[in-house]
């Protein structure tokens, strides 16, 4: 990654992280807020340490994870329109969460919802690996992902359809929109290990993804083990998506848009794009989460709604440019 780009992405992430920490309904100046984080200032310290810090950390981790997973997925599939949700894991994780809400499992036990989402994600990983086969190429993975997404979506709709309880249905709909409001350290403890594990797997794929620029045959002949690469890609992406969806619901467009926005800046090399898209994703989600608190603070604007509202026009612009001059 070019130094200037790396520095500006890191700086942007740090600044947005700090801004995220000093914004909230508790009336306090930025200086006081940050000071309260380190020294005990009574209730403000409580707000900073127990509410804003975990929220900012989650935005950072989830945004970075989604950006990274998107870059890895696009690099592997050699398609700028690929998204980490493409392999269907976000759909199965959401289905797990929806079942937990519907059955009351989520209400009875605080860990019920995230653990059900993780179980859904895990089932999704087994399904995608079984469907795509051990040696199948990129196309098998895409088709298996589409089938799995459709099935998970249909089952989620079925749960909503048959839901006898309007409150549960309401909760499901709101949960599916994705949010970081009122998250705690418990959520960080659930998401962080998964996202960090997934990130570790994906960040090591740079060399293989670079080689894949020349196609699967040429990469294979250059000593890249494509079966292992694909396994690491699926498991790494699934871990990130599972962790993110379990605590924040469904958040789209970060993994789709960020890699594309930064591709030119890294000379289009898929390996160099991985860390850049991670930082860019973190910036995008931190900014979006800040925006949900600034635009309609009293109406609980959902994070996933906002990323889609910002992401979709960016995506359309991408398609426009793609049509005009290919990339």
């Amino acid at each position: 990654m070019r130094t200037a780009l790396a520095l500006s992405l890191i700086l942007g992430t740090v600044v947005l992280f700090l801004v995220s920490l000093v914004i909230g309904p508790a009336e306090a100046g930025p200086g006081d807020s940050l000071a309260a984080l380190f020294a005990d200032h009574g209730p403000l310290t409580m707000v900073m340490r127990e509410i804003r810090l975990p929220r900012a950390i989650l935005a950072l981790l989830i945004g970075a994870g989604l950006g990274l997973a998107g870059a890895a997925m696009q690099g592997y599939l050699r398609n700028p329109l690929a998204d980490p949700g493409l392999i269907g894991i976000s759909g199965t994780a959401a289905l797990g969460a929806v079942l937990a809400i519907q059955t009351g499992f989520a209400g009875g036990w605080a860990l019920g919802l995230p653990l059900s989402a993780l179980a859904g994600a895990l089932a999704g990983v087994f399904a995608i690996l079984a469907l795509a086969g051990p040696r199948g190429g990129a196309l098998a993975l895409i088709l298996a992902g589409i089938a799995l997404s459709a099935l998970a979506g249909a089952l989620t709709s079925l749960v909503l359809n048959l839901s006898p309880n309007p409150f549960a249905a309401n909760e499901i709909v709101f949960w599916m929109m994705g949010s970081l409001a009122d998250r705690s350290w418990r959520d960080v403890m659930i998401a962080a290990p998964l996202i960090l594990f997934g990130a570790l797997l994906l960040l090591r794929l740079g060399r293989g993804l670079d080689a894949l620029t020349l196609g699967e045959d040429a990469a294979g002949a250059m000593g890249i083990d494509l079966t292992r690469l694909r396994l690491a890609l699926v498991i790494g992406t699934a871990a990130i998506i599972a962790g993110a969806t379990a605590v924040a619901g469904v958040i789209g467009f970060v993994g789709l848009v960020m890699p594309h926005l930064l591709r030119r800046a890294v000379g289009a090399r898929p390996g160099a794009l991985l860390p850049a898209a991670a930082l860019g994703g973190a910036m995008m989600l931190l900014a979006a989460d800040i925006a949900t608190r600034l635009i309609l603070p009293e109406r609980d604007l959902k994070l996933g709604v906002l990323t889609a509202l910002v992401g979709a026009p960016l995506f359309l612009r991408m398609i426009w440019r793609f049509r005009r001059d290919g990339f």
Partner: protein
């Protein structure tokens, strides 16, 4: 010393036998032209040699670890794939992937520079590879394989789609590469004239078997040309080197 040893290699794709009992040795200094009609098994032969398709028999390259193989043999596939709009320099630099952690940055740079200059691609160094013409892309992809600096180079139709000057230039570069005596090259091609002029040895594939193997003068007999390609051709050793010119299709054509 051989760079590649294939013995009794057979490939069956689905239920169709594509290659049967191929035995072939490649030694340093050789530029082997792999010729044959469409579907004769040229691509499959090279991919099987690299262990990219399942086969029975023995292929020396397929016995190496993937890393060793990447440092021993470079492969330029026929599908000219460039997925991302990277610079020509970065694309050629991908040939250094198998050497990562073993070669210094200076060695990597020297290999890329040498590959670019060998194929006359210096003016393209900073251009975006995906915006080049098809023929230019083919030369860039061949440069990538050259930058891998392997004892053995295998290229699948590297000169297809190139203009005449670049076809000759590319064949000369490959011949020069083999002539220094340490490396061997295998190319598949359909231009039998260029094959006759530049290859040290021709291997003719016909219906999945080696129909002939030797210097152009011995291999390109009228009988073999008729049998394998179904054409009538003019072939003569002239003072300016061998000249091969296909003239006409024999009978109802090769496909019927």
């Amino acid at each position: 010393m051989t760079l590649l040893n294939l013995s009794d290699l057979s490939v069956t794709l689905r239920v169709r036998p594509v290659l049967s009992h191929i035995t072939l040795d490649v030694r340093p200094g050789e530029l082997i032209g792999l010729i044959g009609a469409n579907g004769a098994g040229k691509t499959t032969l090279m991919r099987a040699a690299l262990g990219l398709v399942p086969f029975t028999g023995r292929a020396s390259l397929a016995e190496m670890t993937p890393g060793e193989r990447g440092r021993h043999a470079a492969w330029m596939p026929q599908t000219r794939e460039i997925a991302w709009p990277v610079s020509v320099e970065a694309l050629v630099g991908l040939g250094r992937v198998p050497h990562e952690g073993r070669a210094s940055a200076d060695e990597d740079r020297a290999a890329v520079d040498h590959a670019l200059s060998t194929l006359g691609l210096e003016p393209f160094r900073h251009r975006t590879a995906t915006r080049l013409s098809g023929g230019e892309q083919a030369r860039v992809l061949l440069a990538r394989a050259l930058a891998q600096e392997t004892p053995l180079l295998m290229a699948d139709e590297p000169i297809a789609g190139l203009d005449p000057a670049h076809q000759i230039g590319t064949m000369k570069s490959l011949a020069a590469l083999a002539r220094d005596g340490e490396r061997g090259v295998i190319v598949s091609l359909h231009d039998l004239g260029l094959a006759a002029r530049y290859c040290t040895r021709l291997v003719v594939l016909h219906q999945g078997r080696i129909a002939a193997d030797g210097p152009a003068g011995e291999v390109l007999s009228p009988a073999l040309i008729r049998e394998v390609f179904g054409i009538d051709a003019f072939y003569e050793d002239t003072p300016r080197g061998p000249v091969f010119q296909p003239l006409d299709i024999l009978g109802p054509g090769p496909d019927s």
